[in-house]
């Protein structure tokens, strides 16, 4: 099974799960069930136990001797060893609270909900394989933060931080990222989940600082379908979530210019991310999160290979 062919969980379904930790677990279960090959193979060498073969296990880890004796398939599990420190940085600014009109009645996932679920899922994955995971939610400043730890019980603290009430201020990426670069004790993987709506110079300057500190960087650029496609029709008044301006217009007339501008923005984000050697992922808020995670993991696996 390839990641593309898997039946992933659509965000609308996830939105019906109220608790973030359950949401993350649902996502991670899907991810683990869908992986043919563990991206973490070889990270452990000490044998831990045998476990009955389940679908999706790597055939190379099947203990053929046991099969020869008992005619049953068992896989060998090893004690993981890692020195990865995963720090999840979630943008909690006002622009992340965009609620598409199509979800106005059903209260679908906002970009922040999506980013938080994505972060929680990554945390679950990291903790489940013994990585140290920390997180921070920020807008103008860091509003909630949990340091990186490896304990499985640490997940509750992470989820709690992600669910903290937010100020919904415009983001101050540079200040937050600079602060983070100064405070993170060890090198690790910093994952930024944001719509990157703000001062692009400041964003990538801050990321550059983290990069200079030796951190591995990944960006989940979360945008709503509406922001990418601008499907509006009929007379509409747009009121800025972060900017003070508003605009009454016929969206059909502005669509071409808007798409042109956002394309330019995406190209710039992608190129500057590449320049900063960030692992950049543009994520639609309508994409299944497990699919995004699978892609992310597969890509990191390729990069590592």
């Amino acid at each position: 099974m390839t990641p593309g062919s898997k039946q992933y969980l659509p965000p609308e379904v996830l939105a019906r799960i109220g608790r973030l930790d359950l949401r993350a677990r649902t996502v991670v279960d899907g991810v683990l069930a869908g992986l043919h090959k563990s991206p973490y193979k070889g990270n452990s060498v000490e044998f831990l136990q045998h476990r009955e073969y389940t679908r999706g296990d790597d055939l190379r880890r099947v203990d053929w001797k046991v099969w020869g004796r008992q005619d049953r398939l068992y896989v060998k599990e090893f004690e993981d060893e890692t020195n990865l420190r995963l720090f999840l940085l979630v943008d909690g600014s006002a622009s992340m609270d965009y609620q598409p009109p199509r979800f106005a009645a059903t209260q679908g996932l906002t970009k922040f909900d999506y980013a938080a679920t994505l972060a929680a899922s990554l945390a679950w994955l990291g903790l489940s394989q013994g990585d140290a995971v920390g997180t921070a939610v920020f807008d103008k400043q860091v509003t909630a933060s949990v340091p990186a730890r490896t304990s499985r019980s640490h997940l509750a603290s992470l989820v709690k931080a992600l669910e903290q009430p937010r100020q919904k201020q415009p983001s101050d990426f540079l200040a937050v990222l600079r602060g983070l670069a100064e405070t993170l004790p060890r090198r690790g993987l910093v994952v930024l989940c944001s719509d990157l709506l703000g001062d692009r110079e400041a964003i990538f300057k801050g990321l550059q600082l983290l990069r200079q500190r030796g951190h591995d960087l990944a960006i989940f650029h979360v945008l709503d379908d509406d922001e990418l496609d601008f499907p509006f029709d009929g007379p509409t008044r747009f009121e800025g979530l972060e900017l003070p301006e508003d605009l009454a217009c016929n969206p059909r007339a502005l669509r071409a210019g808007y798409l042109e501008a956002i394309d330019k923005f995406l190209v710039e984000a992608r190129s500057r991310a590449a320049a900063t050697r960030c692992d950049y992922h543009l994520v639609r808020a309508s994409q299944p999160i497990d699919s995004v995670l699978v892609n992310f993991l597969a890509r990191r696996n390729r990069l590592r290979a």
Partner: protein
């Protein structure tokens, strides 16, 4: 410059152009609000495309306004008149419309051209005349909307008929004949002109187009451009005449006048016919009293001739009969072969003296006007017959020739003939008013002096019938000198003298008398008749041997002798007839009058024939003037004419004619039916006369001329053939060109441009992959 056929529609539709603006304003008020994150891109787009968006939106708005204006303009039927058109047509254009209003234009046709008339549907019927009237109204509308001075004249064929004098005589006869003459058509007087046209109705006349065309020619003499419209049903009888149609129209063609033949009787699916095209129609061609004496309680035989004008046999036909407006049992005619006639007879009896009308009617068919025919008959208590004989000792001498003749004409009460013979001496011819006698019979009269002869000849000239019997007293020389006068007199042929009919030794059994082919003796001809065979003629008055009657004399034999000598012959004289029976009336030179029934039969048939001549004058065709001759000194000069169908009374004063007669004339006999003339005598008595006026049955022939024949008739004359129900005014060569088609194309372009622009400025979902 553009003009519109329906200007009112244009004014009502123009405000609709504001609809797109209003919709735009309403949309501005109905916007929704969205909290938007990526505001910077939206503002960037707005900054960048503000001008372009404004222009696109403005253009879209303008296109929508234009589309609505275009639609309104299409509905208002635009037309374009160029300066070039004005130059070609001149500032003044003369339109002369000649409308065929003969009654064949009343033919029933399916109405296949409802056009803009909302009252008509495909299930209704129309007639060529209604089509023509519609077309004229439409033409007037178009002319009213055309710049430049449009002179319009309208005339109907019947108003120019050569056999129909104009209703009024005035210094400008032409003005009276045209319904509209050189009227300047403008929107201001359009309603009045249209009302005039709508008030027109087809006539009961059978008239051709030539007189109307001749009268129209002077209207084009101004040297300006013009159009002649001939709206007609193109019947063969009107257009295949020997009259030089092309020659009459040549001056118009030379003057550059456009000639339009508008075919108002073409069927919807019909292409211009290549052969003459007959159409079904039954016509009552004749209704005539064919014998008897119109006296009270006398059976009068009538004969009706029905003609099938179509090319298919007609099935059983019910013929309705009315006497003085009252229905009586009708007749059933089994069938009429295509193109042929059928005669049917019926009898009527009138118990009261006076004028009576007999009317027969066919069921309604393609043409209703010719389905009715009327005959008038003036019934008297007794019809007087004058017998002139030389006086004998006693007046009712049982052995005299006059007695035998009087007995034959009035056999007695058991066989009522309605005749009242009156035996008088030749002197009575000068003393009596001969016009009151049904016929006059002269029996062996030796000589007539001028005072006697002249009234007799006047009587015959006026339509009376005079019969001469020979006898021992008859002088051939006297007759030749006074009554024949080398053919100028009343007597039919010159006499040689009395001759004995010698026995034929080779065929002693051969009958002496042979009936010739003549209606009077038709009952005796065709087979051997024992009564006629029994007639023996011993002596007769021979016709001059070398006499050769001129071909136009109309001399005709009734009876011949076995030696081929004439025994009875007739010759028209004026409107009347002179008949000579070249033997005696009594059994002097023959035995005919003695106990031979054929004597009575032939004498009564002959009397009926003579009297019919006078009665025929009581039947006229529509349009023929009705004349009543009054007796000077006896009748008053005021005559009231009661006109059909409603009995409208028209009083006419009699005047002395060129012949010296006192005549009251009614020229308005435009409606078929029974006319009654009523006047008073000086002594206070009242007199009346009934006259039947009928349509000309030849008009019932609905055969239409083939297009090829029309081309031949119009050889050398450029003309346009058009069909009334298909004619779209404005498509032809008239002033102004319809802008409908180009405007429709423009409207289509505007709508396509609007759709394209609308598509460009609108949102269309595109499946975008994750970037």
């Amino acid at each position: 410059m553009p003009t519109f056929d329906f200007t009112n529609l244009l004014w009502w539709g123009l405000p609709l152009a504001a609809v797109p603006v209003v919709i735009h304003l309403i949309n501005l008020l109905r916007h929704r609000t969205i909290d938007w994150a990526a505001m910077e891109f939206l503002l960037a787009s707005q900054r960048k495309y503000r001008t372009r968006i404004f222009l696109k939106q403005l253009l879209l708005l303008l296109l929508r306004i234009l589309a609505i204006l275009g639609l309104v303009a299409v509905l208002a039927q635009p037309r374009w008149t160029t300066d070039l058109g004005l130059l070609l047509g001149g500032q003044q254009t003369t339109h002369v419309v000649l409308l065929d209003d003969s009654f064949s234009m009343a033919e029933t046709l399916p109405d296949s051209a409802p056009k803009n008339n909302t009252q008509t549907t495909s299930t209704q019927t129309t007639s060529p005349f209604i089509r023509g009237r519609r077309l004229i109204a439409r033409l007037l509308e178009e002319l009213a909307a055309t710049p430049g001075q449009q002179l319009f004249s309208l005339g109907r064929f019947s108003q120019f008929s050569s056999d129909r004098p104009p209703d009024r005589n005035g210094p400008d006869e032409l003005t009276d004949q045209f319904d509209l003459r050189e009227e300047t058509v403008s929107p201001q007087n359009l309603t009045v002109l249209r009302r005039t046209v709508e008030g027109l109705a087809h006539s009961a006349h059978a008239v051709g187009p030539m007189a109307a065309i001749r009268s129209a020619i002077p209207l084009f003499s101004k040297g300006e451009g013009g159009v002649l419209w001939l709206i007609t049903d193109l019947r063969s009888r009107d257009w295949l005449k020997a009259e030089p149609t092309a020659e009459i129209l040549q001056p118009l063609a030379d003057a550059g006048i456009e000639i339009h033949f508008v075919d108002a009787a073409a069927l919807a699916t019909e292409q211009p016919a290549t052969d003459a095209e007959p159409r079904a129609n039954l016509t009552v061609e004749r209704l005539e009293m064919v014998g008897g004496v119109p006296a009270t309680d006398v059976l009068l035989p009538w004969e009706v001739t029905l003609r099938n004008q179509g090319d298919m046999p007609a099935g059983p036909v019910a013929l309705a009969i009315r006497e003085d407006g009252l229905e009586r049992p009708g007749l059933q005619v089994d069938g009429i072969p295509a193109g042929e006639t059928v005669n049917v007879r019926f009898e009527s009896r009138f118990p009261e003296a006076g004028g009576h009308l007999v009317e027969v009617e066919l069921p309604t068919d393609q043409l209703a006007v010719d389905n009715i025919r009327t005959a008038g008959v003036f019934v008297v208590d007794e019809a007087e017959v004058l017998i002139i004989a030389e006086p004998t000792g006693s007046e009712a001498d049982a052995g005299s020739d006059a007695f035998y003749l009087a007995t034959a004409l009035d056999p007695g009460a058991a066989a009522a003939t309605g005749l009242s013979p009156r035996i008088e001496s030749p002197r009575a011819l000068a003393q009596l008013d001969l016009s009151r006698f049904d016929s006059i019979w002269l029996v062996d009269v030796a000589r007539l002096d001028a005072a006697e002869r002249e009234p007799l000849e006047a009587y015959a000239k006026a339509g009376g019938g005079v019969v001469f019997f020979m006898g021992p007293d008859t002088s051939a020389a006297e007759i030749n000198d006074t009554l024949f006068r080398e053919g100028a007199g009343l007597f039919p042929a010159p006499l040689a003298g009395p001759v004995d009919l010698l026995p034929d030794p080779r065929n002693p059994e051969a009958p002496d008398v042979v009936a010739e082919n003549h209606p009077v003796v038709a009952v005796l001809s065709g087979r051997r008749n024992p009564f006629l065979d029994a007639v023996r003629v011993e002596r007769y008055m021979a016709i001059k041997r070398d006499y050769e009657p001129p071909p136009e004399s109309g001399l005709r034999r009734l009876l011949s002798l076995r030696n081929r000598a004439a025994l009875a012959l007739e010759r028209p004289f004026g409107s009347g007839l002179g008949v000579a029976i070249l033997t005696t009336a009594g059994p002097v030179w023959n035995n005919w009058a003695r106990n031979n029934p054929s004597w009575v039969v032939v004498m009564l048939e002959l009397e009926g024939q003579l009297a019919r001549l006078r009665r025929q004058r009581e039947t006229l065709l529509v349009g023929e003037p009705l004349e009543v001759v009054l007796e000077q000194g006896v009748d008053q000069i005021d005559v009231d004419f009661l006109l059909p169908p409603h009995g409208t009374t028209v009083r006419q004063v009699a005047s002395t004619s060129a012949d010296g007669e006192l005549v009251a004339q009614l020229s308005d006999t435009n409606s078929p039916g029974g006319y009654l003339a009523r006047w008073q005598t000086v002594s206070g008595g009242q007199r009346e006369r009934v006259i039947a006026v009928n349509v000309n049955p030849t008009e019932g022939n609905l055969e239409r001329i083939a297009k090829t024949d029309l081309d031949q008739v119009m050889a050398g004359i450029p003309f346009l053939y058009e069909r009334a129900e298909l004619l779209e005014p404005g498509d032809g060569n008239r002033s102004g060109t319809s802008l409908l088609r180009p405007l429709l194309l423009l409207l289509l372009c505007i709508l396509l441009a609007e759709q394209a622009l609308g598509f460009i400025v609108s949102y269309h979902p595109v499946r975008r992959s994750t970037r």
